[in-house]
Amino acid sequence: MKFRSLLLKNITRNKTRSSLAILGIAIGVATILGLGLVTNDLAESTQNALTADAADFSVVYGTTGGGGGQGGAPGGGSSPGGQQLINETKVTEIQQISGVSKAVGVLRTNVDLNDTSNSTSSTTSSSTTSDSDGNMGQGGQGALQMMYSVIGIDSSDLSLDDIVITNGTAFSSENEVIIGEMAAGSLNKTIGDTITISNQTFTIVGIYETGNFQDDSGVVMSLDKLQNLTGNTGMVSLILVKASNGTDATSLAETIEDTYSNELTTSTSLSGMDRMNNGLEVIESASWAVTLLTLLIGSIVVVVTMVKSVVERTREIGVLKAVGWTSKRILTMIIGESVVLSLLAAIVGIVIGVGVVEIISMAQIIPGIQPAFSPILFLEAFLVAILLGIIGGIYPAYRASKLSPTEALRYE
């Protein structure tokens, strides 16, 4: 008989208890694995959207006192209804303010790209609502109609608006556009395809991601072109501002608001990147907390299971010592048993974890989650299990190995 077959036989001895322990640890392993799969995915997509030089705040038309400050964050929210445009000269002016590293004008509009005959909705102050809900009602073409954002920005300033090209290149001529990942998916467009906006045909040269749902359902072209297209030459919807190093963005925003107190207001809400990073940090620390908790619970399960098993076998351990087993071998046996138990649990846990994550991603319970399976994650699951087995096994094994043989043999 081999020592390892003894370990296996000892585990299958109390099947109910072992199964329960395996299930308990397996749920822990599954939780850790599931969290890993999901956070890996989140981290991956966020990484793509990480733009270190995104703008700190945006400047929109409005008075500081009344209803201002609701302007969309860079790459963020919808354009406010009744959007007032800003003259491009303001961009140059703001660029001159000390502490401004960069000021970039952006024109935004919404368009129904499914209906190619449709022209861009007006971006002038006369337009009524331009958020997607409003347009759906207005268009009256049924619920399937969907609005897409069209953003005009110079191709060298894309990063300021959190726009990251994931495929292809930026636009270099007036006839070229880049398309958001969501829009590319829903319109079934890819690089090389053409797209018609306001009766003009554009070639798609790149696909971008912002990490923001609304902006990802959009198209980006050069500022000049969008200004032409919408008849808004020399006008922008908002100005993205990045503070220079060492300048406090909040006080810079206040300075700008003071300078243009009757015209412009700023939106100092976090940039998309910051929001996403914060979110990811929260998720990551939460997943760490859950992981630690799971490890704790898992090792308690192992300890309880193995202590019970050792107590039950007290006499037997006395016999093992009487026939010449060393304390070390008894220690090895108990730790070995708990490691085998945990490894079995790891296999069960991986099956449960992958299954649950697959179901979640297939059922689209959390939209956009694509489990990031990696060999390292599975290796981690096994390492966690081995660790649990060893940590949880140490105390019961120590207890067993330190049993006095005479006491153990007298045990009833």
Binding site: M1, R315, K321, V323, G324, W325, S327, L409
Partner: protein, 222 residues
């Protein structure tokens, strides 16, 4: 050791429990020759099991000296190797491992030695055959009768070819007929293998079978 033919030499051995309130052994002097068959009698609580445990190095005495098979058992070291090589324990209760087969139970003591896997199986089964248990090697102990279980326990005690067998009331849990079969087996082993046998019993007629009878009373030989 003074006498080469003595496998066990015990002088003034004392062992107390509960901080000396119970003196389980209170000055034992005993010499046992190699190959001798000694029976140990005495009322309950007189220290028979305690003495056996001292000889088998399952516990350490408080005072005196004890030498067994060349080992000084008063040393503060681990005697698992000594037990593995020199001692075969047989208890009143078989203490077999219920989830292991008869053969595997007999192999357990060999896991601490460097005997190869197949050799373990061979040796265990050979001993079991000699104990008339050859047809039971793959059974679980729960399927066996009391006498059969005790035979497996004897097999386990013998498998490492010990020089001393310590049997603590091996027939205590058996009916007299089955008990007699076990005693017969033990005597045969003693004669054939020239193994030293110390047998604790409550039955005077069993004690009579031994080369020498020793009586214990309140932790002393009387």
């Amino acid at each position: 050791m003074n006498n080469e033919s003595n496998i066990i030499e015990i002088k003034n051995l004392k062992k107390g429990y509960d901080h000396g309130q119970t003196m389980a052994l209170n000055g034992i002097n005993l010499e046992i020759k190699k190959g001798e068959f000694v029976s140990l009698m005495g009322p309950s609580g007189s220290g028979k099991s305690t003495l056996l445990n001292m000889i088998g190095a399952l516990d350490r005495a408080d005072e005196g000296s004890i030498h067994v098979a060349g080992y000084n058992l008063m040393e503060k070291e681990d005697f698992s190797q000594f037990r593995s090589k020199e001692i075969g324990f047989i208890f009143q209760f078989h203490n077999l491992i219920p989830n292991l087969t008869v053969s595997e139970n007999v192999q357990i003591p060999m896991l601490e030695t460097d005997v190869a896997d197949e050799e373990m199986v061979k040796r265990a089964n050979k001993i079991l055959e000699s104990l008339n248990m050859g047809h039971r090697i793959d059974h679980l102990p729960t399927k066996l009768s009391g006498g059969e279980r005790q035979r497996v326990a004897i097999g386990r005690a013998l498998v490492n070819h010990p020089s001393i067998i310590l049997a603590d009331e091996p027939t205590g849990s058996l009916d007299s007929k089955t008990g007699d079969i076990i005693l017969k087996i033990l005597r045969e082993i003693h004669q054939k293998e020239n193994v030293t046998l110390i047998l604790v019993t409550h039955e005077p007629y069993v004690a009579e079978m031994a080369d020498r009878k020793i009586n214990l009373m309140d932790g002393k030989i009387s």
